[in-house]
């Protein structure tokens, strides 16, 4: 039994995994991934899909969105790295890909900062106008949240408490 296990380990152990992951090169210098790598990645993607659905039914509270996104990012990395072959691609293509992600992050961060802070700005603007106009009825808010927004005040929900 132990001998069998040892034989199995020697055949399919870390060295085997390393060799399979490394793949091979054809005479023209192109990298070719081994078939088991594709099947293993596919299996991992299926398991992670089941995990995503399971997480949505488990009551994780505020953690559910970050966990779902983490699983999605792991799945995306597997697809990009192995199916799209970026792990074995030229560094310049890797740069192009991650470059697009950097600019995406800049876009997301700036818009989210704006969404979070424009309420404060609008409130300040209104205070300023009230002092100048002496007549609150004349004040028109610079930014109006959609009428039937779920939490009334939207980005500047705390403004009303401040007055």
């Amino acid at each position: 039994m132990l001998a069998k296990l040892q034989a199995f380990y020697e055949k399919y152990g870390p060295d085997y995994v390393k060799e399979v992951l490394a793949g091979e090169h054809d005479p023209y210098g192109n990298h070719i991934s081994a078939l088991p790598v594709y099947y293993a990645i596919y299996g991992a993607l299926l398991i992670l899909t089941v995990l995503t659905v399971a997480v949505s039914y488990a009551d994780l509270g505020p953690l559910s969105l970050p966990v779902a996104m983490l699983v999605a990012i792991i799945k995306a990395s597997l697809v990009v790295g192995y199916f799209m072959h970026l792990k074995y691609d030229t560094p310049f293509n890797v740069l192009v890909f991650f470059g697009s992600l950097v600019f995406l992050a800049i876009f997301f961060v700036f818009v989210m900062v704006d969404l979070n802070s424009r309420g404060t700005l609008v409130a300040e603007q209104e205070n300023f106008s009230i002092h100048r106009a002496q007549d609150p009825a004349e004040v028109k808010p610079a930014f109006v949240t959609p009428k039937n927004s779920d939490h009334g005040g939207g980005a500047h929900g705390d403004k009303k408490d401040g007055h």
Partner: protein, 228 residues
């Protein structure tokens, strides 16, 4: 002699004077390797543009969910989770067959290349069929975008949610349809025996595009169907 560059290289008279020129090698490239790396760089630049393009829609999702958290939670219950999950598995499987098709081209296995391309196209069609049934159900219940919304029983601002739903899944579905088109084009060229270990850039690039379509869905599925 300005048009002579279009003549097939096989006629033995090479105007460039740098030896033999394989049929698949365009005249503005020195080597097949240079041609492949250039083609792939171009594809990755296009994919970067696609990521930024979809980024705009995902930003719209973040902003609208920020404004209407209750609506998103209530309205997503009316999406078919089973159909969404089935489509996820279908797209993942089609990604696998696409990767196997590229590998088949690399090792020069024409039969496997054609089979895997056909499977990929079939899975893509299956995705669109499920999408069709999902859309029909939404139309039937009046769950339409913006002013066309006339459904009942969802609190908040469901017209906003369904506007976003149709924009996101519609743009993605359009990419799937285009994918079916380019996959068919590659399949026809493959059946004419045009691809092999020395030349498979079109297969590889269509593959990269197809994996990106899968990638977008990996994020769309939990964000739209599994809101918590």
């Amino acid at each position: 002699m300005s048009t002579s560059s279009h003549a097939p290289a096989a006629h033995g008279h090479d105007a460039h004077g740098h030896g033999e020129h394989p049929k698949f090698l365009a005249h503005h490239f020195y080597t097949p390797e240079q041609q492949l790396t250039s083609a792939k760089l171009g594809m990755w630049l296009f994919l970067a543009q696609e990521i930024l393009f979809f980024g705009g829609v995902f930003m719209a999702y973040i902003a609208l969910r920020f404004f209407y958290p209750g609506t998103f939670l209530a309205a997503h219950e009316h999406l078919n989770k089973l159909a969404g999950a089935a489509n996820t598995i279908i797209l993942l499987t089609s990604s696998l067959t696409m990767a196997l098709a590229v590998r088949a081209a690399q090792v020069g296995n024409k039969k496997s290349l054609i089979n895997n391309l056909i499977w990929t196209i079939l899975f893509a069609c299956a995705f669109m069929v499920i999408k069709y049934f999902e859309y029909s159900a939404k139309f039937e219940h009046g769950y339409l975008p913006g002013k066309y919304y006339h459904g009942h029983g969802i609190e908040g601002a469901p017209h906003v949610f369904f506007g976003l739903y149709f924009t996101m899944t519609g743009l993605h579905g359009l990419h799937v349809l285009i994918g079916i088109g380019v996959l068919a084009w590659v399949l026809i060229r493959a059946s004419k025996d045009e691809f092999g270990p020395q030349f498979y850039a079109p297969v590889e690039n269509v593959g990269l595009y197809w994996h990106l379509v899968d990638l977008i869905w990996i994020f769309l599925f939990p964000l739209l169907y599994l809101v918590r």
